[in-house]
């Protein structure tokens, strides 16, 4: 049975998963959840995802949620496409450096990129008042954090080493919304961050889903 991805087409976390499915050329059916109508908070939905969040997958009866966990599962289950290196290294030290990079994404990027995008993009989309102070302090901290990125990316191509990993791809959904939120940090902080960010933006897998996740039956 083909893998089913349940989510919202433009949701950041849904597109994070779709990107990796496309990277690994995994056929999948996209099933749209009516978030506007609160379908993700229904009793039936909560059976599969107790936090009432999108996305989740149903892989032939195996249910999994949390976008980063789903991405790791895909990379673990399927072989990397011919001519590419796996998005998660398997040797113990390479894997440790990947985990370090994955933790950087979650500890040093997301806590600041997400509130900035929430205030200026998501709230605006729902006609809710935005908190400029939250945006300003988030961007200020993100600016400082990106100095760390600039140092790392001056020594190696990607966050875990010289090969791209999931840790780099995890940044895409929020990093690409920062400009819409009003911040050009990703292309002005420093030459290394700019180089890395632009390369990520050019990935065909991201471009295939950036305007909305959809089904892919073949590649």
């Amino acid at each position: 049975m083909v893998l089913k991805l349940y989510g919202m087409p433009v949701s950041t976390c849904t597109r994070r998963v779709a990107t990796v499915l496309v990277e690994y050329k995994v056929p999948f059916e996209f099933v749209s959840i009516d978030v506007a109508k609160g379908e993700h908070k229904s009793a039936a939905y909560l059976q599969n995802q107790p936090f009432g969040q999108v996305p989740y997958i149903d892989d032939d009866g195996f249910i999994l949620f949390e976008s980063r966990a789903i991405c790791r599962y895909i990379v673990d289950k399927y072989p990397a496409p011919a001519g590419t290196t796996p998005l998660v290294p398997s040797d113990i030290k390479g894997k440790a450096l990947f985990e370090q990079a994955a933790s950087i994404e979650y500890s040093d990027f997301e806590p600041y990129a997400y509130p900035a995008v929430r205030e200026k993009v998501f709230k605006a989309m729902r006609n809710l008042p935005t908190d400029q102070a939250v945006y300003d302090s988030s961007i200020e901290t993100l600016d400082a954090k990106l100095a760390g990125y600039e140092a790392i990316l001056g020594k190696q191509k990607y966050l875990a080493g010289n090969e791209i990993t999931l840790a780099d791809l995890f940044h895409l959904p929020y990093a690409t919304l920062l400009a819409k939120a009003g911040s050009d940090l990703m292309t002005t902080k420093g030459p290394n961050v700019t180089r890395w960010y632009n390369e990520l933006c050019e990935r065909p897998s991201w471009n295939a889903v950036k305007d909305g996740a959809k089904s892919f039956s073949s590649y």
């Binding site: 949390e66 976008s67 966990a69 113990i92 440790a96 985990e99 500890s107 040093d108 760390g148 790392i152």
Partner: protein, 221 residues
């Protein structure tokens, strides 16, 4: 082979998380205290090792690693016999789901409220904010309702046996209880008996009890 060196702070929150896992895995380690009070973690030499100027990091016979969850995962992978990261594919996926739940649904509110409550309890001279504590505890209460649903069906977050995903809830899972009492706190409510059961199991572990007064060099178990 040199003993593993844990560079951090005796009482520091994230240093404690790593020490707890090192203890779980019976790994000897030396604590090397970083002089955070005097900004040692922001020096150019330190930033070459940890570019975000944070503690802790480890030096495992010359292999340097930072980010506590990455450190914990690295050590757990070296000693798979302890089962703290399941290897069977579906069990591993459920572990990753649980580890991600800790990151996205627990840590944001628990670390914000927990850090401030810990600062107050320790009497450290840093500003704290009642509203930040209250707002984050309120968010955490709702998240723990979902934990109750999960833990009513299985003993631990990834299944029937304990994994790193459960242990990652320390130390902030303890610090957030400082707003309540031993018999009634956000982690220990009559309305969430399964969360309370799981929480009590976590704080009973010898690895947590070993460093209640702070992390210390541990050469034997």
């Amino acid at each position: 082979m040199a003993i593993l060196k844990l560079h951090g702070g005796k009482q520091a929150t994230c240093t404690r998380r790593v020490a707890t896992v090192l203890h779980e895995l019976q790994v000897p380690f030396e604590l090397i205290e970083v002089d955070v009070a005097n900004g040692a973690h922001k020096s150019p030499e330190y930033l070459k090792i940890q570019p975000f100027g944070q503690i802790p990091y480890i030096d495992d016979d010359g292999f340097l690693l930072y980010e506590t969850r990455a450190i914990c995962r690295y050590i757990a992978a070296k000693y798979p016999e302890y089962g703290l990261i399941p290897t069977e594919p579906k069990a591993n996926a459920l572990f990753e789901q649980a580890a991600s739940v800790e990151l996205t649904n627990f840590d944001p509110s628990a670390s914000k409220a927990g850090l401030q409550l810990w600062i107050r309890k320790m009497g450290y001279p840093f500003p704290t904010d009642d509203k930040i504590i209250a707002d984050n505890l309120e968010t955490l209460e709702k998240k723990l309702d979902a934990y109750e649903a999960i833990l009513s069906k299985q003993r631990y977050l990834a299944g029937e046996t304990i994994t790193l995903a459960d242990i990652f809830h320390l130390p902030y899972g303890v610090f957030v209880t400082y707003a309540g009492s031993e018999s009634d706190s956000v982690m220990n409510r009559a309305s969430r008996p399964n969360v309370a059961r799981w929480y009590k199991q976590l704080i009973s572990r010898p690895s947590w009890l070993a460093y209640l007064d702070g992390v210390t060099t541990t050469t034997a178990y």
